[in-house]
Symmetry: C2
Subunit: 231 residues, 2 copies
């Protein structure tokens, strides 16, 4: 009661994540950073030992990652780290294009200068990270750029979908941003999105966002084919 009367503005953000959430993050992270490789078996009892938690937790975590698409469950064999093929990667980029394009269009139609300003800030962070060869930073700030795109027009569900799909192509992302010229081309393409938004040009923003994803997809396909992109 008294608490409610005082509002919840300064409520401390409970760091009290459950053990399950902690374990989930750990395992997801382990898959994303390559500690577990695609195709690796994820033996429940081994994970219990490695994580120091009970099987209950491990099983829930595996189920969760399964629904995220990071883990596949072979019948009568058990869970393995999911493998992504060319085609699926392409489909994921395509979906991102559709949704990010949609969000970009909505941002442009909002005619709110604060949006473009916020995006510019993320873009600046990305450029700095490229300059410092901080590739983890590039990824993080790129995510932040897109999160801004979605959250500025209150599309948190679409952002959730994009985010969910993005983790599955995480390793591709880290490879595409390292390819030749991407440090220049990437930001240039993203700046086009911001420009269109600032102009209030919905269709232009849509096209620019689509094009950015399309070029990332092309690079990813090249990487997956084992050859470097022609550029």
């Amino acid at each position: 009661m008294t608490d409610d009367a005082h509002g919840t503005a300064i409520r401390v953000e409970r760091p009290a994540k459950t053990l399950r959430e902690l374990a989930l993050d750990k395992v997801r992270e382990a898959i994303l950073n390559g500690y577990f490789r695609p195709g690796d078996r994820l033996v429940e009892r081994d994970l219990c030992a490695q994580l120091g938690v009970s099987r209950t937790i491990v099983r829930e975590v595996l189920r969760h990652l399964e629904s995220e698409g990071l883990v596949a469950n072979l019948p009568n064999k058990g869970p393995i780290v999911a493998q992504l093929n060319h085609d699926e990667a392409k489909q994921i980029y395509e979906i991102r294009g559709a949704l990010e394009g949609m969000a970009a269009r909505l941002c442009a139609e909002q005619r709110n200068p604060a949006i473009a300003d916020a995006l510019d800030k993320s873009l600046e962070d990305i450029r700095n990270s490229y300059r410092d060869k901080d590739m983890a930073g590039v990824l993080a700030h790129t995510s932040s750029f897109y999160q801004t795109l979605f959250s500025m027009v209150d599309r948190h569900i679409a952002w959730g979908v994009v985010n969910l799909l993005t983790v599955r192509i995480n390793h591709l992302r880290s490879m595409t941003i390292k390819t030749q010229n991407r440090d220049v081309q990437g930001p240039v393409q993203m700046a086009r999105i911001v420009d269109a938004i600032r102009r209030g040009d919905g269709e232009g923003a849509y096209q620019a966002a689509m094009q950015h994803v399309a070029s990332a997809s092309a690079i990813a396909q090249a990487v997956l084919s084992g050859r470097q992109p022609i550029d």
Copy 2:
């Protein structure tokens, strides 16, 4: 060995779903058909008793449904059936529009008459179901229509996303298809999609698909506001 030598053509499709999958389907179905209403608490031990399975299973099922967005987990209170507000429903329809529009465009660009034929067949099923006042059939065949749209161009990931989002607005779907004139308007709009695909008109197919979802969304908003649509 001998089995493999004979191929796998007649392999029996394992009905051997795990207990967990069975329970998952049961609970999901119970939520979708309204046995559990939005906001209802889902007490683990009660579910154990009702389903006749252990807490292990129930917990995994609840986690899974949580990641599907059908169940929400209140900290220190436990899981409840997720409630969908206006805005989220609108967002989901919007995403469906973007993805179904994308799929429709791809179908049109395929220039394969078989696609339009297959869609026409689903459309016929929908009309028949409407005629017989078989609303469950309408929903099923509508899903089948869209599944065709995605699977004909091998976009199973996008279909998965649409499917995932669709269960969350299931109750809205059953209400929208029952509104006045929807039995005529719905099929007419879908026929426009098929026509555009048959003509190879990608942009037209995209627009038609978007429009179909948009009108469903508008009806849903009206239903959510408590009033019937003006039509």
